[in-house]
Amino acid sequence: MSDAPDKRAERACAEDLLTAFLAAGAERVEPDILLPADTLLDLYGEDIRARAFVTQGPDGGEAMLRPDFTVPIVQRHMATRADPARYAYAGEIFRRQTRADRSAEYLQAGFELFGGVPADADAEVFALIQAVLAPLSPRVATGDLGVLTALVRGFETSERRRAALMRHIWRPARFAALLDRFSGRTPVSPARAALLAESDPMAEAGAEIGLRSRAEVEARIAALRADAAEPPLSKAQVDAIGALLALDMPSPAALVQLYDIASEMPGIADAVDGVARRLDALVKHGIDVSALPFDGALGRGTMEYYDGFVFTFRLAGRDDLPPLATGGRYDALTRALGGGADMRAVGGVIRPAVMLAGDAPC
């Protein structure tokens, strides 16, 4: 809980940010605070319950206190589908916190851009957030999950393996475990080996209970047999993932490394060209990219479903605080919400309360 003066300062700061976003051509939107839980649960899975406040909705179904603005804004945009469209908002966010020193309720101010040319849209959003935070001299990080997803999509292996890896792009531990298994670094378990060696694996199967049918079990066994016959992922492909995730250097140097990886893995050539186009666009927006950090692993491990450009701004020397701002491209999320393959979106959010902890607040 915060004192009234703190709350007033936070709100004034959020209003200032909103004014800046509106001046940048955005339309003001005010999504509901109480959101239907179904969409959020389908999108983020059960994990969202640990992070959001779930309650009873007015229609008797489950509702959530707004854990972020992205989902309601995408849904609102789908009604109009203007291209490009710019939206700005400022309002409360509610998150369950495991740390006692983090507020469960705080303000966010954000800017979302739908459509447009991706490199230009990325640069526009980044430059806007950078401009309003510049007085705080924040520490910046950028990355691009689109390169990682392109690398996985271009893997020479079965579609099943590519899909399994894609599904866990945002869960680094599970992603690493899958890579180990597909590359043969993790040996086949005795139970799996025994199952595959069985001439009639269903002989030991118990009674058919539950919705998952015998046919589904048999289909998976067939898939496991096909997978066992699949050659391991090549060392070159696994090494490319390692090289990409390890990138942590200024953007121009990172771009050289990315072109190196692309020479081995042509599947990422378009994504790397996209990084280059974005750097050009950032220069046009007055950003000095020579020292702009690029981190190949940034944006994984969040539940935000960023799948392209990602960025984070932090107060220098205050790693104890959450980021000042985070943002990125979330084309996959708009697709998952029924927006269609052609709908693209990039955005960023700022936390006024963290700005107020800096030397040059708002």
Binding site: R49, R99, R167, R174, G206, A207, I209, R212, R220
Partner: protein, 229 residues
């Protein structure tokens, strides 16, 4: 006065009394007064008899300094439990394992890896996330997130959980089991990764209790007498 909360009835109470008794601290219920007890062999300690299920909450609120309850109840009922309480001693009784069980029909599922792969295929095929019936929501969510399992949903089941799969209200279950017999009778089998949590009765210290000099000194004497490190 240092307050210690202990389970108010049943096997858990008896085992707790025996555990302390073996270490020279005699606990007993006072006849005629259901929730009062006396404690001998140590000065400055007051015993409070509580339901084992209420002890986590009392510890978190700091209304008792110490408490004996199942480690599963603490982890299930307290968010960020290790920031609220400190385990002082596992007590070696009240063992109960929280396990995930799936139909024996699923010969292709042996580990969490398999379960995760099945969750993906199940969602694609049936249009909803694979349902796991349990009453241990926090323990399960934390465990499955830690292990990167996706596309599942927890459905609440406060009793007869083993029957939910047969009744088609869930595809898998997570429950406390002391033997596998009930699972087998319901055509279910455990995953081989080991339990989600191996629970036992544990002596906890409440971080939020009033730890003045007197309480600290009493805890030091009690720890020495109980042989805690």
């Amino acid at each position: 006065m240092l307050k210690i909360g202990v389970p108010s009835k049943g096997r858990l109470m008896e085992d707790t009394f025996r555990w302390f008794g073996e270490r020279g601290v005699e606990m007993q219920k006072i006849e005629d007064r259901e929730y009062a007890g006396r404690i001998d062999g140590i000065d400055g300690v007051e015993m409070v008899l509580l339901s084992a299920g209420e002890i986590p909450r009392e510890l978190a609120a700091g209304r008792i300094h110490l408490g004996v309850t199942g480690s599963d109840l603490v982890r299930e009922n307290l968010a960020a439990w290790d920031t609220r309480v400190e385990p002082l001693a596992p007590m070696g009784f009240g063992h109960a394992d929280l396990v995930i069980a799936v139909p024996q029909l699923w010969v292709d599922v042996d580990t969490l890896d398999d379960l995760d792969a099945v969750c993906a295929a199940f969602r694609a095929r049936h249009g909803h996330r694979l349902r796991i019936a349990t009453k241990y929501h926090r323990l399960m969510r934390d465990y499955l997130r830690q292990h990167g399992v996706a596309d599942y949903q927890l459905v609440d089941s406060q009793g007869a959980t083993e029957g939910t799969v047969r009744n088609a209200t869930a595809e898998a279950i997570a429950d406390i089991t002391s033997t596998g017999a009930t699972l087998r009778a319901n055509h279910l089998k455990m995953l081989s990764d080991g339990p989600v949590h191996a629970s036992q009765a544990t002596l906890f210290r409440a971080r939020a209790a009033a730890w003045d000099d007197a309480a600290r000194a009493t805890l030091a004497r009690l720890s020495a007498q109980l042989g805690l490190a």
